[in-house]
């Protein structure tokens, strides 16, 4: 039993911290977010140079073969910088699928991810499905060696930047069946795909994706036809674990910034941090943060456990993170007073990102239901 980080892990953390310090102060981030592209390809290449894009892939696939703890470290530090480059989307989520794909697929796709050439996005959500990963109306019908995909995927994070998409679709079964779900790798420029790209409130980009008779070769099916549900849940749990890490990164900055602000901002002749009510609010923010760190460690340490243990861990962690994200985010704004309301300060942007994380892969109610059903 040990909760300390290895030297190698600490080194990794320092690397990311330097990157944030040099390339991701608030002004630089604002520039990136407001740019035409919405992300900075140079950063992505730098991630590749630093080896970050190969972190979770096996050495056989050209990666570094690291586990969830290393991903947690990277993403936590990214969270501190509100990094918009789609690391979780491409590396944790799509990477999570790909590292379990066939050898042929792995050798075809992973190298271009590691080299920073290709960005990937996971298109799973549909308007009617809310957080149910199995509620799919997107259909894939087999036609010879191909599948023909039709459907609508909404709010696909990072899609505007992606070369490839992983799309969940129904090959059989009823709308909400667990059985009959398949995963496909699609070129974004395949004929029949149309995207509507837009910015998101937290400084990222996403797309609405319409699939009209998109032809995909069966070589691009991940795993067995109709059997993807379990894999999707697993990868989503891993993504939740990463999102939790991103959240604690953001929370830590928000807490520090708030404490710092309250030490310097004076009202009624003293720093507002001298008012006991604000002190206790910040103590509660701190406690929420510490509990969130704990749950983030917990879920990342339990990702390899068997199904129900892992599911409970992921849902439990997400419940805590959602609660803390709301409390810390809202409190930080409140304690900054008017200044918390301007878009010119970083505080609001952390708040907005945390608000969106509450919703990502399911909110509190959703995960309490999941938790209850696994308990």
């Amino acid at each position: 039993m040990d909760f300390s980080f290895s030297e190698e892990q600490t080194l990794l953390r320092n690397t990311i911290q330097s990157f944030i310090q040099d390339n991701y102060d608030f002004d630089k981030r604002t520039e990136i977010v407001k740019s035409e592209e919405g992300m900075k390809i140079k950063n992505w290449k730098l991630f590749s140079d630093l080896g970050l894009l190969g972190l979770p892939f096996s050495e056989d696939d050209g990666g570094l073969g690291f586990g969830p703890i290393e991903l947690m470290i990277v993403v936590e530090e990214f969270g501190k910088g509100l990094v918009v480059e789609p690391y979780i989307q491409t590396i944790v989520t799509c990477g999570g699928f790909l590292k379990r794909a066939s050898e042929k697929q792995r050798s075809k796709y992973i190298p271009k991810i590691i080299s920073g050439e290709d960005i990937w996005a996971f298109a799973y959500a549909e308007p009617q499905g809310r957080y149910n990963l199995n509620d799919l109306t997107t259909k894939a019908s087999k036609e010879g060696d191909n599948y023909i995909l039709n459907g609508y995927k909404c709010v696909v994070s990072a899609a505007p930047w992606s070369k490839k998409l992983i799309v969940s679709a129904r090959t059989s079964g009823d709308q909400r069946d667990e059985e009959g779900i398949s995963l496909f790798i699609l070129d974004k420029d395949s004929s029949g795909i149309s995207l509507r790209d837009y910015p998101t409130v937290d400084g990222s980009r996403a797309s609405e994706i319409i699939l009209e008779d998109v032809k995909v070769s069966s070589e691009n099916l991940i795993g067995e036809e109709g059997k993807a549900s379990e894999l999707i849940e697993q990868v989503v749990d891993e993504s939740i674990a990463a999102v939790c890490a991103e959240a604690i990164g953001a929370m830590s900055v928000l807490n520090e910034t708030t404490v710092e602000y309250c030490k310097t901002r004076k009202q009624f002749g003293q720093p507002i941090g001298k008012f006991q009510v604000l002190q206790h609010r910040m103590v509660d923010m701190f406690m929420q943060y510490e509990q969130s760190v704990s749950m983030t460690y917990m879920v990342n340490l339990k990702l390899h456990e068997e199904y129900s243990e892992r599911r409970k861990a992921a849902s439990g962690a997400k419940v805590q993170i959602c609660k803390a994200a709301k409390f810390i985010g809202q409190s930080a704004i409140q304690l900054h007073g008017g200044m918390g309301m301007t878009d010119e300060l970083n505080v609001g942007h952390y708040f907005k990102r945390l608000s969106m994380i509450e919703n990502l892969f399911g909110n509190i109610d959703h995960h309490l239901k999941k938790y209850a059903s696994t308990a």
């Binding site: 308007p127 499905g129 809310r130 409130v201 002749g269 809202q330 007073g337 309301m341 878009d343």
Partner: protein, 403 residues
């Protein structure tokens, strides 16, 4: 104890409903529903206020002699309730509810004559110059100064969070005229023509990122602005007294009718939102419990309001108890905004900069989702402004509980 309205008051209520039906056009409703911060362009505000003016209802809180509506206490409550129930725009408060009462109480006859009619007819748009970058909750520490130059004041400094200053013709300001030991002393209340030389208005973009000119707040800079002495209200260095008087008018709105409206809207959304498990959100026990708890809180609020209203109409003075309304009203509103974001799940994510812009393509997600996240972000202000809720609790603690 009696809940019902008299026949006469019921008649009045019908008159109000009738007015709203005729005057609160679909175009206005649409525009308001597209607003990320609750404000629309100046023209629409003016149009609405003109209609009220014509009807004689523009100033329910003014005394009849100055052009007030002459409502009874019950009528005032009915009027406000009906307006909020329909989501009709509130009148812009800076002229009608803020500077006007001060002018009436402390202004000279010339000032009354010069300013009040134009406020009543919305010919002149006012904004409020109170907060400064260093003085938020602690107004008494303000720095913006007005030096006595014989027949005018020379004003230098800056005011922040000035709502809709981009439209304003006049601003009423608290300025420092004397340096004293006690910071509350030495503050004066003056009126400044916004077209004066040396004034600059800069937009402040807030969390929801409403673009200029629809943005909500500004910073106003004063550089050697000359203000004629006749624009001083009351006595020099007594501004704090007038400001406190004014604060009484800021509080005591009825929140519940608007909140009922919001909770009903959200109920409609929940009927329309699939859970992903074959039902709609309205059938989701967890969500609906939160919504119903909210509604119960609103009802508790409504009956606090009714009790305050009843005390007022019985001629009692209602003081700091009304801080309860500020606290609960804004906190329930924020809760509803939170729940709304929760309801629309994925659709909370897309960012639309200018929701008023005439886009040819349909909006991303359902129409009702368009402004929900911006309203949530923007709504965080309500527990900060007009005396933060922490300050309100301090007030209750001191003035009601005697702590």
């Amino acid at each position: 104890m009696e809940l019902g309205l008299s026949d006469e008051d019921l008649g009045f209520r019908d008159e109000v409903r009738d007015f709203i039906k005729k005057t609160f056009t679909n175009e206005m409703r649409k525009k308001l529903s597209l607003s990320k911060n609750g404000h629309v362009e100046k023209g629409l505000h003016v149009e609405w206020q003109n209609a009220l003016y014509k009807k004689g209802w523009i100033a329910p809180n003014w005394p009849k002699e100055h052009g007030g509506a002459g409502f009874s206490a019950t009528q005032k409550y009915v009027f406000e309730t009906e307006m909020a129930r329909e989501g009709a725009p509130r009148t812009v408060p800076f002229g009608l509810s803020m500077v006007a009462p001060v002018i009436m109480e402390f202004g000279t006859d010339e000032q009354k004559e010069k300013f009040l009619p134009d406020i009543l007819s919305t010919k002149v748009w006012w904004c409020q110059g109170y907060s400064e970058p260093g003085s938020g909750s602690d107004l008494a520490s303000l720095q913006c100064k007005a030096e006595d130059k014989g027949d005018y004041y020379l004003v230098n400094g800056t005011k922040i969070w000035t709502t809709m200053a981009q439209y304003a013709d006049w601003i009423f300001c608290l300025v420092r005229t004397t340096k004293t030991e006690k910071p509350q002393q030495g503050i004066s209340f003056i009126l400044i023509d916004m077209s004066s030389k040396g004034i600059e208005v800069r937009p402040l973009i807030t969390l929801e990122q409403t673009p200029d000119p629809h943005h909500e707040v500004n910073q106003v800079f004063f550089e050697d602005v000359r203000v004629p002495k006749e624009n001083l209200i009351g006595e020099e260095n007594k501004g704090w007294t007038y400001a406190k008087y004014l604060l009484e008018f800021e509080r005591g709105n009825a929140y519940s009718p608007g909140l009922y409206r919001a909770v009903n809207n959200l109920r409609e959304i929940a009927k329309d939102t699939p859970t992903g498990y074959g039902r709609n959100l309205i059938d989701d026990n967890d969500f609906i419990n939160k919504l119903n708890e909210c509604e119960i809180q609103i009802q508790a609020m409504e009956f606090v309001e009714l009790r305050i209203f009843s005390a007022l109409s019985a001629g009692e003075r209602v003081g700091p108890e009304s801080s309860i309304l500020k606290c609960r009203g804004t906190e329930i509103q924020q809760l509803l905004q939170e729940l709304s974001v929760e309801a629309i799940s994925h659709w909370s994510i897309p960012f639309i900069e200018d929701t008023f812009a005439n886009v040819n393509e349909p909006s991303i997600g359902p129409d009702y989702a368009l402004t929900i996240t911006p309203n949530y972000f923007n709504g965080r202000k309500t527990t900060i402004y007009a005396g933060s809720n922490e300050i309100q609790r301090n007030i209750i603690s001191k003035a009601v509980l005697g702590l």
